[in-house]
Symmetry: C2
Subunit: 457 residues, 2 copies
């Protein structure tokens, strides 16, 4: 097979989800059910991904505990984990989830800047608005804000963090011992932000980090989410089940990016793939089926009910979804996950039991059971057909699923020129091929002093 049209390697991200992306992965013999709490485990998996030149590792997050009894649920703070991982690796990018609904922009800007400094410019921020009332109730609210309001807050939250990251120009620190001048105050700027959600004077109390801004990642596929991504994201994680859907999403998002006045090349679209590997296709499918059987139907049904906004009693296990479901418009939680689940169930006419098994498998993402050659083929096909700039690799079982991927899939990808054979840069921006943003306050950059001084939204 030929390499991709432009001959450039694809982006590869490892989604480390503890024992694996399949909900039942922790129930297999030999699993590590405490993986989520084991810092050495995170370090070793990142080192393995770095050994084959992956671009990045990614950690998801929640700020509430749900369904804890049935699967590994307690988790460490992702930025804390990735700080340890940063010191155990030297090149691979580190993407952490942080919520715009339940943080202050000053704290988030500072934590990401700190890790970007510590890691030599390898940090990305997966921006989430955090659906769900359970999270809201841990932060002083009785229920979550509406989907629209959460995105409005996210918009302003991001604007504030970007101003804070710009508040020190690159050459603000002079460290002149003789003169007793540590920093040039004319290059450190108050941001004087006053908006609907936030008032932040600034400057940040951490100097500008190697990447200027951490790489901005986004994963919501609702209309609000896609528009937010079009305006701001530099990488997009997305759940697409068919090549046709993947191509449509890719074309739609790149079009929105262009409409937003940005370079479509500056946004990397990374569909999730949950590889289940076997030496033969039959063996892979058998493993997949074994995992699906380990999913506990009742607890999966309870989660499904939450996602669909229904009483669990309305979902008998051996019937299909009821006809009178709410629409995406009624959902204030994760709109895109709602639609994806409903479309999957309707398209394949799945019973609730079957649907729960399928969702346990990919948790909404695309499971692909096959041989290493078949996995490499589908990766190549999606890239060639215009459905992906790279992939979010979410092994069903960890670490073994990723060890198999490294051993058997990566050599095929490398032979086809689909994955880099060495890091060319040192920062995540360089790995992803993204420009480094200048400080808006830097006078020689073209921004007029008047623009730079105005901090209000």
């Amino acid at each position: 097979m030929p390499t991709t049209p432009d001959g450039k390697p694809l982006v590869f991200n490892l989604f480390n989800n503890g024992t694996g992306h399949h909900e039942a992965s922790w129930r297999l013999a030999g699993s590590r059910p405490l993986a989520n709490l084991d810092i050495e485990y995170f370090e070793r998996l990142a080192q393995l991904a770095e050994s084959v030149m992956f671009d990045s590792v990614f950690l998801a997050d929640h700020v509430a505990l749900e369904g804890v009894s049935r699967r590994p649920s307690g988790r460490l703070d992702p930025l804390t984990v990735l700080t340890a991982v940063a010191r155990a690796t030297s090149r691979i990018g580190l993407i952490a989830t942080a919520s715009t609904s339940y943080n202050d922009p000053f704290n988030v800007a500072r934590r990401f800047a700190s890790l970007d400094l510590i890691s030599g410019g390898r940090v990305g921020w997966n921006i989430v608005t955090t659906p769900g009332d359970a999270s809201a109730r841990n932060f002083g609210l009785d229920a979550q804000a509406s989907h629209l309001e959460r995105y409005q807050r996210a918009e302003e939250f991001l604007a504030v963090t970007q101003k804070l990251w710009d508040s020190w120009e690159d050459d603000a620190v002079v460290a002149d011992r003789e003169a007793g001048v540590w920093a040039d105050e004319s290059k450190i700027h108050a941001i004087d932000h006053r908006g609907r959600f936030f008032s932040v004077r600034g400057p940040l109390n951490t100097p500008r980090s190697p990447q200027g801004h951490p790489v901005l990642v986004q994963a919501g596929s609702s209309e609000d989410g896609k528009d937010f991504a079009a305006r701001h994201a530099e990488a997009v994680f997305t759940a697409q089940h068919t090549l046709a859907d993947g191509k449509a999403f890719y074309a739609d998002l790149k079009r929105r990016v262009k409409l937003a006045g940005r370079d479509p090349e500056g946004v990397k679209i990374l569909p999730g793939i949950v590889p289940v590997l076997g030496s033969t296709e039959a063996q892979a499918r058998e493993l997949d089926a074994e995992l699906d059987e380990l999913v506990l139907a009742e607890s999966g049904r309870d989660r499904l009910a939450r996602q669909l906004g229904l009483d669990p009693a309305r979902l008998p296990l051996d019937r299909q979804l009821p006809d009178d479901l709410p629409t995406e418009d009624d959902i204030e939680g994760d709109k895109s996950r709602f639609t994806l689940i409903v479309e999957l169930a309707r398209r394949e006419k799945l019973t609730v039991r079957q649907l729960v098994g399928r969702l346990g498998s990919g948790r909404g993402h695309r499971t692909f059971a096959g041989t290493p050659e078949q996995v490499a083929d589908t990766i190549q096909a999606w890239a060639r057909e215009g459905a992906a700039d790279g992939f979010n690799i979410m092994p069903a079982i960890l670490p073994s699923g990723f060890e198999l991927f490294v051993e058997h899939v990566v050599p095929i990808l490398r032979k086809r020129g689909l994955i880099r054979s060495d890091y060319e840069g040192t920062t995540l921006r360089e790995h992803y091929g993204l420009p480094r943003p200048p400080s808006r306050y830097a006078t020689p950059s073209g921004a007029s002093a008047g623009d730079a001084g105005s901090g209000s939204e």
Copy 2:
């Protein structure tokens, strides 16, 4: 000299403040003016402290930038730094400052629990209410809340974090693959906190950490601060300039602890000492004077004016402080620092210029210039006389001042039995000799189910 009366080693904490505690330390030839941003520097100093069995290292924090031009000011987030340090060390305790005024309790509880898990139980939290309008303006306020209100918020903030740390019982995670039961939900508790400042449902989404609760540290010496310490602190950092003052503070605080119904042994009082070491006393004093001369009088005066709540124009450099100063009651910022500065100036009849030099030296703490033998003597004297359970070692110059301390002072302390010769435990609680708190929700612990279930303040 004999060892301390009870023959137990003292507590030793290293305060790593970048280039050193003296404000002018960064201006010395050979200094590392970017030390505050250099993660390897933090790791190496902690390793050095661990090599001589120090109990802990400590990082201060601010959430605003002031006086940036004249001294190293940009700093990394302390918990981020200590996560890296945790992975570069194995025994030493790690104490990070975090503000109760500008954080959410859920996030703080989770970050400390995460680092406690990662470090094997070595974390302490220096609880600060963060004085100053500059910080408030980075978090949506036009001015800081009153001193009293900040402490009221701190009280409730701490109560919420402690409930969250208790929300998982120690044996909540069962990880039974066969049965498909990861956790025993009857051992994971909502906290249902509803108070004046916070509503938090819980539980935390991170399991209970090795120490149960991180060690609680406090440093304010105002009346509100001392009462807060008496109720909650397990270690207290304090600035005391004379042995008489140190004894009075020690006796007063231990008395308050007893009045609060706690064991005075459960609160370790650690005065700060800023050692300036020389082979002879004269050499040490010379180095101290050299440092004081490097302090830039005007910028020091500006900071002094902020601390005293005055216009800088009211502080001519070669006059003493004006007679008509505000009183501690008028100060909404750092009350205890205000009083300490005014008393020092009045007691020694210092001009503003001299005062600025002295404050640059210790930044309010006690500078002690002398030989290694003299430093060991004063440490021993304060402990024997009932002014200290240990010391917060704040070298005027880093790393050299601490290297000299390790090489020349520690062997004397060890010979006198004042510092341990090996770690006996693995957690910070064990190093400090503090009990591990049980979860309030654990039924066999003696707390009645009725008490455990009630989460309201």
